[in-house]
């Protein structure tokens, strides 16, 4: 357990020592802030139209401002996470530091968990920063805090799943760029996998819909936290980690 923490702390520090992490955070934050402002302006216009027709009450604020921002943030993370996770293991191999880790008394699972925990720290920081943006609504409106929090939890789980796929890709190559491209491909496919299902119907439709990351995340954005979605994210993350562990074990045998 101590070793996992040591690895994780070093991983986070390593990320903040690199300009890459700072740049990615800056890009994520600025674009999300921009999109949030855009949706806020849109909401304002829609509200004026709505009231011009003489309707009473208000359009749902959270659903039209916070949820779209979080939804778009997930798409951004789909692009960003492969870049963050690509270096986790591949970079150690390329830099020649891997033997120092691999000859230490650490099982492959400990190494994988340490790296992953470090990545989760970073994701938590990134999402924590993003979650500041919608707080601007509170002095002026009455956002649905439950839906907001569900969305944040969903975004964290989504990013964690992205990261685990990225870690798996990073364990399978010595080239971080290859890892980034591979994990981006897998993630994008998982994101859109239900597109085919919509046409076919039946069991396949349901299966594809189940595998779609986007579908599960959508539920969180509407404020629905269901155990089925939680299980999906836990399973997806766990498979990524197990794949990475398997790769590291196999490496000793295949060389």
């Amino acid at each position: 357990m101590n070793a996992i923490l040591t690895l994780a702390v070093r991983e986070v520090r390593g990320m903040f020592h690199s300009p890459l992490a700072w740049t990615l955070l800056a890009v994520l934050f600025s674009i999300c802030a921009y999109m949030f402002n855009a949706s806020l302006l849109n909401y304002q216009i829609q509200m004026m139209e709505y009231q011009a027709y003489g309707m009473r009450g208000a359009l749902p604020l959270t659903e039209r401002t916070i949820a779209p921002m979080l939804g778009n943030a997930a798409v951004l993370l789909l692009l960003i996470m492969p870049l963050l996770s690509m270096r986790l293991i591949a970079e150690e191999k390329r830099q020649g530091t891997w033997p120092a880790l691999a000859s230490s008394p650490l099982s492959p699972m400990v190494i994988v968990l340490g790296k992953y925990l470090g990545l989760l720290f970073f994701i938590a920081i990134a999402i924590g920063v993003l979650a500041i943006i919608p707080l601007a609504l509170y002095p002026y409106g009455n956002p649905d805090t439950g839906q907001f929090l569900a969305g944040v939890v969903g975004l964290f789980l989504t990013a964690a799943a992205f990261g685990s796929v990225g870690l798996a890709a990073s364990s399978a190559t010595e080239n971080p760029n290859v890892a980034a491209v591979a994990s981006f491909g897998v993630l994008l496919l998982l994101w859109i996998v239900s597109w085919m299902g919509n046409a076919s119907g039946g069991t396949l439709d349901k299966a594809l819909a189940y595998f779609s990351l986007m579908n599960h995340y959508q539920n969180f954005l509407t404020g629905l936290v269901s155990s089925a979605d939680l299980v999906y994210f836990v399973l997806l993350s766990a498979s990524g980690l197990l794949f990475a562990r398997h790769r590291l074990l196999a490496e000793r045998i295949q060389g």
């Binding site: 691999a102 000859s103 230490s104 000793r252």
Partner: protein, 312 residues
């Protein structure tokens, strides 16, 4: 009482259909510094990677300090310090952070971390650069940092893959001194190309060639075994030809060397007095006469080329 700290038995390692190691037997006792020689591609690095737990052998068993590497890989690695060919350096860390990080991964208790790091830095001459980033250090200091990480957790077994490559002569001397010092409390397996290094640091030598151990003995025994008889290197200012040397009584063989000759003596005879006499009498102008028996290059060449002849 001796205690076997490294025990490789029947170790074979294949990469695809290529046999990199073929039935390796190797034992290193506690406190021993063992030189591991062999041409490039002979299997030195593969053997070391297997010991360090980076590779699994295809067949055979490997034990480090009595712990089977295959049965309990994590425990076995706790007893090992490994310096790979390229020192595993995290450029963005300072020397002190780097050693502290790896020491804590290798189970050095928190309270002893500072002491272990200081000691390793001191032994490797890194104290003066403890706060410098590794990426800004010279090749020699990085190499020392690599050695320091291999000993920071006081492992039973230290495996060094060409530790003096890229160092200047003064550093090389210091590192050799350090390696000699390491023997005693640690067992050291040292791979190198540099033969004098072996002479200076190692008690015993194993020579690997084409994936097989072709010699494993104390240095003196190895020298005796290879030469059997005494050899001398001679250089003359004016020697007519090799045949003149061959006719000298007691000379068994003459081999041309760079600006000189290597002569081997016939069993139980000493050609040197006759050689000196003839040199004066015939005006050969003797410039140099040195015993060549202890030439490690010769041992090495003879062991590895003999193998090739046998294979052919």
């Amino acid at each position: 009482m001796t205690e076997t700290m490294i025990h490789l038995s029947g170790v074979t390692r294949k990469f695809g259909s290529v046999k990199a190691l073929d039935n390796i037997e190797l034992q290193v006792q506690r406190g021993e510094v063992m030189g591991f020689l062999g041409p490039n591609g002979a299997g030195k690095t593969t053997t070391m990677r297997i010991l360090a737990g980076l590779l699994a052998p295809t067949e055979g068993s490997v034990a480090v300090a009595g712990v089977d590497v295959l049965e309990d890989p994590v425990e076995a690695r706790a007893r090992i310090g490994f310096l790979p060919e390229n020192p595993p350096i995290y450029g963005e860390m300072t020397v002190e952070e780097y050693l502290g990080y790896l020491a804590s991964l290798r189970r050095v208790p928190k309270g002893q971390l500072g002491g272990a790091v200081d000691r390793a830095m001191e032994r490797c001459g890194l104290t003066a650069v403890s706060n410098r980033l590794l990426r800004n250090l010279s090749k020699g200091y990085r190499q020392r940092a690599g050695i320091a990480q291999a000993i920071v957790h006081a492992p039973d077994v230290v495996i060094l893959d060409e530790p003096t490559v890229g160092l200047d002569p003064i550093q090389i001397r210091e590192i050799r001194e350090l390696i000699r010092e390491l023997g005693g409390e640690h067992s050291v397996l040292l791979s190198t190309h540099i033969l004098p290094e072996v002479r200076m640091t190692c008690g015993r030598v194993a020579v690997i060639h084409q994936g097989r151990i072709v010699a494993d003995d104390a240095l003196e025994n190895l020298e005796k075994r290879v030469h059997g008889s005494v050899a001398h290197f001679v250089r003359f200012g004016a020697l007519p030809d090799a045949d003149a040397l061959r006719r000298v009584a007691g000379v068994a063989g003459v081999t041309a060397r760079e600006d000189g000759w290597l002569i081997t003596s016939a069993p139980a005879s000493d050609p040197v007095p006759e050689l000196l006499r003839l040199s004066v009498a015939q005006g050969w102008n003797l410039r140099e006469l040195t015993p060549a028996g202890g030439n490690l290059e010769d041992i090495f060449l003879q062991l590895t080329t003999r193998e090739e002849k046998e294979n052919a």
